[in-house]
Amino acid sequence: MAYQIIADNCTSCSACETECPTGAISMKKGVYVINPKVCTECDGHYASPQCASVCPVEDTCVPAAA
């Protein structure tokens, strides 16, 4: 399981990349993208997924399976 960023909504603020504990987030074509193979949903690191907690745009950093 992983989180994903809805590309059209991303404002490229980079807050998610800074907070990600596993380095799963990187910039591609001007917006940020989560690598589902590296994302652990912050399990073992924090109580809640950091990227989704800090993202300033609603409904943009969301569970990938949703």
Binding site: T11, C13, T18, V57
Partner: protein, 536 residues
């Protein structure tokens, strides 16, 4: 051009001496007839005289603000600031911000600030400094929060202070992360910090801030507002204890914190804030902010001014000339030249000549002295008239304290009040430019009239017949006779004439020519602010 080549690989300190030019103020610069104000040029500089005109300020504090266009109302006619948008991440969600349109603390939503890396930012600043000798401040204000991106922010300051040590460093923040960075701020010699404080009552905070990110999680509701409040107060105290000049920005949100801002003012005064800047909420549905979508309006100019009146004289100096500029703004007054400095055009190795900046400052020291003397004379002239009246005047200016903008080209007017107690800036009023290259935009004219509804008199360098007629029909007196004169003597001259002021000499009460107000001669030196260069 004598340039000093600056490359990132071997950044050297560029020697640029600053500040109160003394003998050089008279020996350098213009040969074309300098003004001889009382006392002569060599005996005092503009800086020293301006310090004397602010006796409530410690002279050392005055030295720190006299060329900062935001901290000093006088300086904002002569000096430019640049913001570099190196701080995109944010840790606080405000109901007036939509990240697609930048923070509504800023006045041009709909256009997103370009993000820069620290290396791009320092090249841009060097490039801007080489083209704008009046540049005195570089600030990091966003597009998110400066302290939510500490690595980028402090790396940028490090590069800039090495390359251009004469520039003041300025930082803006919501304060949430501030207590964690006090020592770094001190170590970098950042002399000016702005904190946006909209409330000191967490209950009111819940209406402004839906959530924040702190300690690796999202906080909401009352707990979030309490945390923010506590951190803002702690940060403010720590900065003032370190002797840093703190400006507090407060966004005026009618119905939410309008009645509360006096309490904010008292709380920041207690903790040593230097300046309070109350700015109007900008709230248009097109921006898609939570406030705008909920129908929350911004304040009218009258509401803003009347709150500012309530707060002036309370002990924290009030800023009245804020332009709510963007996180990538460049320039003076209300004009932003950011279009002339696009990111893709930043030179790889910008050249910078400190001589231009030194010559500009020498010139300005002299101009400031003359301008100050002219203002003092104007206030005395008004007081001597002994009438109990007041005049509200809108002035079209692009800098230098002079009436130097054609009505049709004005993006904003500076509004002044003149009465027995003096001539005071009320604040800027933004308008849409009327002139459209040969014909006028009538909608804009009507909007301008609405923006200037409380004004008695408009001073411009020129105006077309059609807009003049419309203004006069609406009850506004329009005068272009004082083109390129200093603002305050022109106001005094018109004050003497009151509503009989017009362009035919000798109508009504004899009006002193501006150059003769209280015997202060006009200055022959013209600084061409249109080209952003001092040409002596």
């Amino acid at each position: 051009m004598n340039g000093t080549l600056v490359s990132l690989s071997n950044i050297r300190t560029l020697k640029a001496t600053t500040g109160a030019a003394t003998a050089s103020a008279c020996s350098g610069g213009s040969g074309s007839g300098s003004g001889s104000g009382p006392g002569g040029c060599g005996s005092r500089t503009g800086g020293a005289s301006m310090a004397a005109s602010h006796p409530e300020l410690d002279p050392q504090v005055w030295e720190r603000i006299r060329d900062h266009p935001c901290y000093s109302e006088d300086a904002h006619h002569d000096f430019a600031r640049i913001h570099v948008s190196v701080a995109p991440a944010c840790n606080l969600q405000c109901n007036y911000c939509n990240r697609k349109y930048d923070c509504s603390n800023e006045s041009r939503p709909g256009v997103v600030s370009e993000k820069l890396t620290p290396e791009q930012a320092v090249r841009k600043v060097i490039w801007a400094a080489s083209r704008l000798p009046q540049l005195s401040v570089v600030g990091i204000a966003g597009p998110g929060d400066a302290l939510a991106n500490p690595r980028q922010t402090f790396r940028t300051f490090d590069l800039i202070r090495t390359a251009l040590p004469h520039l003041k460093l300025c930082l803006s923040t919501n304060g949430l992360a501030l207590p964690d960075h006090i020592e770094t701020i001190k170590a970098f010699g950042i002399d000016h910090v702005t904190i946006t404080i909209n409330m000191v009552d967490p209950e009111i905070g819940t209406q402004i801030y839906p959530w924040l990110f702190f300690d690796h999680r999202r906080w909401t509701g009352r707990a979030a507002a309490e945390l923010l409040h506590q951190r803002q107060m702690a940060g403010l105290e720590a900065l003032t204890a370190a002797g840093i000049l703190v400006k507090v920005n407060s966004v005026l949100i009618p119905g939410v914190n309008d009645e509360h801002l006096p309490a904010v003012n008292a709380a920041i005064k207690e903790r040593g804030a230097f300046l309070h800047n109350v700015m109007p909420l900008i709230s248009e549905p097109a921006h898609g902010t939570a406030f705008a979508l909920a129908g929350q309006r911004g304040p009218t100019a009258i509401e803003l001014n009347s709150l500012q009146e309530r707060l002036s004289g309370t002990g924290v100096r009030l800023m009245r000339h804020c332009r709510q500029c963007r996180a990538d703004a460049i320039g003076m007054l209300g004009e932003s030249l950011d279009q002339e400095f696009p990111a893709e055009a930043i030179p790889d190795q910008p050249e910078y000549d400190p001589g231009a900046q030194q010559r500009y400052r020498a010139l300005i020291a002299r101009e400031q002295y003359d301008r100050l003397a002219a203002r003092a004379g104007a206030e005395r002239a008004i007081a001597a008239l002994g009438r109990g009246t007041a005049l509200r005047v809108a002035v079209a200016t692009k800098g230098g304290g002079r009436i130097n903008v054609h009505f049709g080209h004005a993006h904003e007017f500076l509004v002044y009040d003149a009465d027995q107690d003096g001539i005071r800036l009320v604040g800027p009023r933004r308008v849409d430019q009327y002139c459209r290259g040969g014909w006028g935009e009538e909608d804009h004219l009507e909007q301008t009239l609405a923006a200037l509804a409380d004004v008695d008199l408009v001073l411009v360098s020129r105006i077309g017949d059609c807009p003049r007629e419309r203004l006069e029909q609406a009850g506004l007196a329009v005068v272009d006779r004082h083109a390129y004169d200093y603002i305050e003597p022109a106001i005094a001259a018109c004050f003497a004439n009151r509503r009989t002021c017009d362009n035919s000499a000798g109508v009504g009460v004899p009006v002193p020519a501006c150059g003769d107000v209280d015997g202060v001669a006009g200055v022959d030196v013209r600084v061409d602010f249109g080209e952003q260069r001092a040409s002596a």
